[in-house]
Amino acid sequence: MNLNPVLQTLTTLPGRLRQRARGMFNLNDPRWGRDDDKASSDESKPESGRDEGSSAKPPAPPPPPPPSRPQGQGPNQGPPDLDELWRDFNRKLGGLFGAVKKPGQRVRGSGGLGGGGNGGPGGFQPDMKSAGIGAGLIASVALLIWLGTGFFIVQEGQQAVITQFGKYKSTVGAGFNWRLPYPVQRHEMVVVTQIRSVDVGRDTVIKATGLRESAMLTEDENIVEIKFAVQYRLNDARAYLFESKDPAGAVVQAAETAVREVVGKMKMDSALAEERDQIGPRVRALMQNILDRYKVGVEVVGINLQQSGVRPPEQVQASFDDVLKAGQERERAKNEAQAYANDVIPRAVGSASRLKEESEAYKARMVAQSQGDAQRFRSVLSEYQKAPQVTRDRMYIDTMQQVYSNVTKVMVESRQGSNLLYLPLDKIMQQSAGSAAAGEPALLPGGVATPPALPSAPATSAADTRARDASRTRDRDTR
């Protein structure tokens, strides 16, 4: 059986009462402000308004004013005004509670909840008058206190979810709020707009695998440790409270499964280096997807990889560093070799091309020389064929002259009459030495019998060509 219609009236009743009371005891009512005594009336007006407002709740006080009248007001105000005011007040009160109070009381009584107002209706009977007043006062105070427990304050950044008999009723924002007191409605505060954050990946070691909790496998079956913080915010306080048990745990689990799925699709190197910045966004998208499926009412704001965010596990850290170092070493050696190559290769190329040029030049020269020689021989041959004898003689004489001019022997004519022979030997030697220096190479390998008395130190490369020349001349001579 459901009591909802009853509750409906119960929840709306206080609002209605409040509205009526506000209209009734309005401070702007011209009749209340009739007194022009400013100093006193300014003070007394709000006072009287408040007191009467609160004393309006007890049901139907009797006409005589003095007993229940607030103290401290009498001396300040003129008696006629007060009397009139009080009568007016009572008349209005009677009209109000005569019409409205009764159904309200009945509702409350049948709900079995407050039950405090039951003395009220009986209070009109003359014999039970005083007892009814007392019980009504106590009951109304209790009721007020009970209603007062329904006030609560919601801090900025929080929301309160109000449940009525366990059923979700509404969500209210920051500020001063009122709900029906304890057995009927309750509220639960939830921090909504502030960002919460949770760390994922602790250092605790799992026994079964001997790895840390933050460790996970990459696609190439390497292990990396990833630590990060998830920042999230609630976007639906109702879902957060009612849809899922332990929603904060669900966030952590979603984060763990998401990051492992993401890293499981990455190679180790890319997880550590190039695709590292993509881990965060991918995890975020996947997490949001998972959490939406659970209807946790959570929005993932960001994934922050921590300082030592992605790294290989400690046991292999040293080896990993070695690998890195070796990689750098390789890089360095490569660079060095490259530099050396850059240095050597151009030089080698240069010398190669130089040698090539040289040999080209030598070839050209030799060809030209040989052609020249051949030309000479041909012309000599043609001369020879014209006059063989003369040419032979001339060649013989030429050769002999050449030979003799380089010989250190001195010929002296002895048949001439002079006995005195002047032989300036040293001069002749010098002279012949000078001429030998010029003509000597031609004779060096030559078959002339005279041994060269002269020191000869010809340059090797020059000597070769000359030697060849000399051999040619010798050939010519022998012919």
């Binding site: 790895l211 496998l217 689990q253 763990e256 492992r260």
Partner: protein
């Protein structure tokens, strides 16, 4: 004075009676009314409800939120290439039909978690035996989770339905 005492005592009795006959079903719960040990009614809507006082009818509550079942043991399982892996998983599930649940599984969430744990572990073992480590890690991770989920659902919705729904099966770690 006599009359006041009578009113007060009758009020107290009324209160006691009301507290035994009225009960609140929370937004997060199902309320199950037992009439002399037999399930009489299941209240799925939160709110204030009425029942007979205790000897005749009792009420118990059962969580209807999404529950998490975490893998407890880390026993290595064998993959298709006879490699041992340790996996962690979790299951998100909820009770959808309290009367079936109570009849076939148990009175509270823990009983269901226990049973479910066995079923899921068995399903994982079977599925992992068919797959290689590489599949587990990256290529067929989602497919594996989906397969395990369907397998678990088959058991759960079998001849004697458990009255539960498995929302998600996920692997957290594979080592």
């Amino acid at each position: 004075v006599n009359r006041v005492g009578f009113i007060a005592s009758s009020l107290l009795v009324a209160l006691a009676l009301a507290s035994s006959m009225l009960f609140v079903v929370d937004q997060r719960q199902f309320g199950v009314i037992y009439a002399l040990g037999q399930i009489k009614e299941v209240i799925t809507e939160p709110g204030l409800n009425f029942k007979l006082p205790p000897p005749f009818q009792n009420v118990s509550y059962i969580d209807k939120r999404l529950l998490t079942l975490d893998s407890t043991d880390a026993e290595p399982m064998l993959t298709a290439e006879k490699q041992r892996v340790v996996i962690d998983w979790y299951v998100r599930w909820r009770i959808t039909n309290p009367s079936e649940y109570i009849r076939n599984v148990g009175l509270d969430e823990r009983a269901g978690a226990n049973q479910l744990n066995r079923v899921v572990r068995n399903a994982f073992q079977e599925e992992i035996n068919k797959r290689t480590v590489k599949d587990l890690l990256s290529l067929k991770r989602e497919a594996l989770m989906a397969d395990v989920k369907t397998e678990v659902l088959q058991v759960v919705r079998g001849a004697k339905p458990w009255g539960v729904d498995v929302v998600d099966v996920r692997i957290t770690r594979v080592d």
